[in-house]
């Protein structure tokens, strides 16, 4: 589905923005499901709260969002980049607020994975669009960034890799040179786990669907990287889901039994489930 040039662009810069992949009706369906879930969170809508909320979206109450993980629009992108030997492991919805300091989702450079994001509102550099450091998914840049002092970040369960300045003399989020990934609803933003990214200027309740794909490890080093990533991400997402829904005794397992049961006998999903079972996702 991607052209050769788009693949080269992704491999070189570590990310890709694909415009108008989802149409207005599809975005509306995502919004309806999102709104329904959001009203059931602890304390109601987060619009007035500075609190990030996140929940898994593979259950029967979010059928359209759930189906996105396996839709040709998305899997076509992933297959172009990873071939067919990959696993779709997560489809989450998030209501974001505030800023996120610079970080990569994976620091082990043997980790081959990517995120596909769909934002449900227009975003630019002043309203919380993702900003990325192009090319920072590989060395020398990936590791060099750790030597650049940054102002003390707000932590959000993210592994702190940046060099934190205790004297507020470090660079602020917006002072780190980056590409702003301005998007409109319907666009998909794809980025490599290892790419440094952040956001600044976002209002409360920025709505995002994020899907995670991991390429099957081929070497011992890649296997170690994958196992590290699996462990870290499970803890993070479980913590957020519990924070969002735990008090209302909602089922907070990331993987709804219906999805895992794979009642449609989808062979690709079954392969994913077998791998996730092996990795103790459930």
């Amino acid at each position: 589905m991607l052209t050769e040039q788009q693949i080269t662009q992704f491999n070189t810069f570590g990310f890709l923005i694909l415009r108008n992949v989802l149409n207005a009706k599809e975005i509306q369906k995502l919004n309806v499901e999102f709104e329904t879930k959001l009203t059931r969170t602890t304390g109601g809508k987060s619009k007035n709260k500075e609190e990030r909320m996140s929940w898994p979206s593979l259950g029967p109450d979010t059928p359209f969002t759930s189906a996105l993980l396996e839709s040709p629009s998305v899997t076509g992108i992933v297959s172009s980049l990873f071939g067919d030997d990959y696993f779709g492991i997560s489809c989450n919805a998030s209501s974001l607020c505030g800023e996120t300091n610079w970080h990569p989702d994976a620091d082990n450079l043997h980790m081959k994975g990517l995120k596909v994001l769909c934002y449900l509102q227009p975003l630019n550099g002043n309203s919380g669009a993702l900003r990325v450091i192009p090319g920072s998914h590989i060395n020398a840049l990936h590791d060099d960034i750790k030597s650049v002092q940054m102002d003390e970040p707000k932590h959000d369960g993210l592994t702190q890799l940046a060099l934190v300045s205790n004297s507020k003399s470090g660079f602020k989020i917006e002072e780190i040179p980056a590409t702003i990934c301005s998007v409109n609803p319907g666009d998909l933003l794809v980025f490599d786990f290892r790419l440094w990214h952040a956001s600044k200027g976002g209002s409360n309740d920025r709505r995002m669907i994020s899907m995670i794909f991991i390429k099957n490890a081929k070497t011992p080093e890649e296997e170690i990287a994958v196992n590290e990533s699996v462990l870290k991400s499970q803890k993070n997402r479980a913590h957020r889901a519990k924070a969002a829904f735990g008090k209302r005794n909602e089922q907070v397992s990331e993987y709804h039994p219906n999805w895992v049961a794979n009642l449609g006998n989808n062979p690709r999903r079954q392969r994913w489930i077998n791998w996730m079972r092996e990795k103790k996702y459930f």
Binding site: V132, A140, L141, V148, L163, A178
Partner: protein, 281 residues
């Protein structure tokens, strides 16, 4: 003096921005001095002038030696706010590598100034002052952070090839599909991921000359900038060959600098002729 954080920023991203180094009053004098040079360039210094605007602006010019020939601009080369930063980035004994003053509507596609194998191992810095405010869409210098370092540097080679072959003039006889197919990474130069140095007069950018950079966007009446070039002290034959490959004129510094009363200025040029002679022999 460069702070540790600034050094890390330069080494990592290939450039350093300092905001409002020069006051509005100082900029007024700098602009006046530069304008005097531009106004007289074609009559008094024709050999030092190149026309660089192409079809966009046939009258756009680049004036070599703008700093050397204008005493009010020469002081920029030894100003501690510039000199001390360069000492921190290049080390002691850094050398002068020339200056230019450009005026007009000049866009330039993605390139680095010193292409060639291993050229990025030798640090050369260009210092830019823009005389008009610039934004991303109105002529600001764009850079790809970190692109001075290998292997990222080499992966961007398609941009350099495109710049050399086309200088961004896309073959108009090709259909749209073929035209886009020939673009590096399949996107227009203005859409290549980058950081734009949006600036106001008084801001200064120091950038590694192997960093990929470009200028896109509507240029209106045109823009003006002054640039000074410096290099680390060459300590190997390879460094000297690198200089010779792109800028042999470095070995023939302007007489006004050779005869300067300033120890800093003289220090940057006094050994260059001897170095050049060594290479040529």
């Amino acid at each position: 003096m460069v702070e540790k954080g600034q050094l890390a920023h330069f080494e990592t991203f290939g450039f350093l921005v300092l905001r409002q180094v020069f006051s509005p009053e100082e900029m007024k004098d700098i602009i006046g001095a530069a304008d005097e040079m531009w106004e007289t360039a074609l009559t008094t210094n024709k050999k030092s002038v190149s026309f660089v605007g192409g079809e966009n602006d046939p009258g756009a010019t680049s004036f070599r030696y703008i700093v050397e020939r204008q005493p009010r601009l020469t002081k920029l080369a030894e100003d501690s706010r510039i000199y001390d930063v360069l000492k921190g980035l290049l080390g002691s004994g850094f050398i002068w590598a020339g200056s230019e003053g450009q005026r007009g509507r000049v866009s330039t596609s993605w390139h680095n100034d010193r292409p060639g194998k291993n050229q990025n191992k030798y640090t050369r810095i260009k210092v830019h002052f823009y005389i008009e405010p610039t934004t991303k869409t109105t002529g600001a210098l764009r850079v790809i952070p970190g692109s001075h370092r290998s292997p990222f540097h080499e992966s961007l080679e398609p941009l350099m090839s495109h710049h050399i072959e086309n200088n961004d003039s896309i073959n108009s006889d090709k259909n749209e599909i073929d035209r886009v197919r020939l673009l590096p990474f399949g996107v227009e130069g203005a859409d290549i991921p980058c950081f734009a140095f949006e600036s106001n007069p008084g801001d200064v950018i120091f950038f590694h000359q192997n960093l990929f950079h470009a200028v896109y966007g509507g240029l209106g009446e045109g823009r003006r900038y002054i640039a000074m070039k410096f290099a680390a002290q060459p300590t190997t034959n390879e460094h000297i060959q690198f200089i010779k490959a792109h800028t042999e004129y470095v070995f023939h510094p302007h007489e006004d600098f050779l005869n300067s009363n300033s120890p800093r200025i003289r220090g940057m040029v006094e050994n260059l002729e001897a170095l050049g002679a060594k290479v040529l022999n």
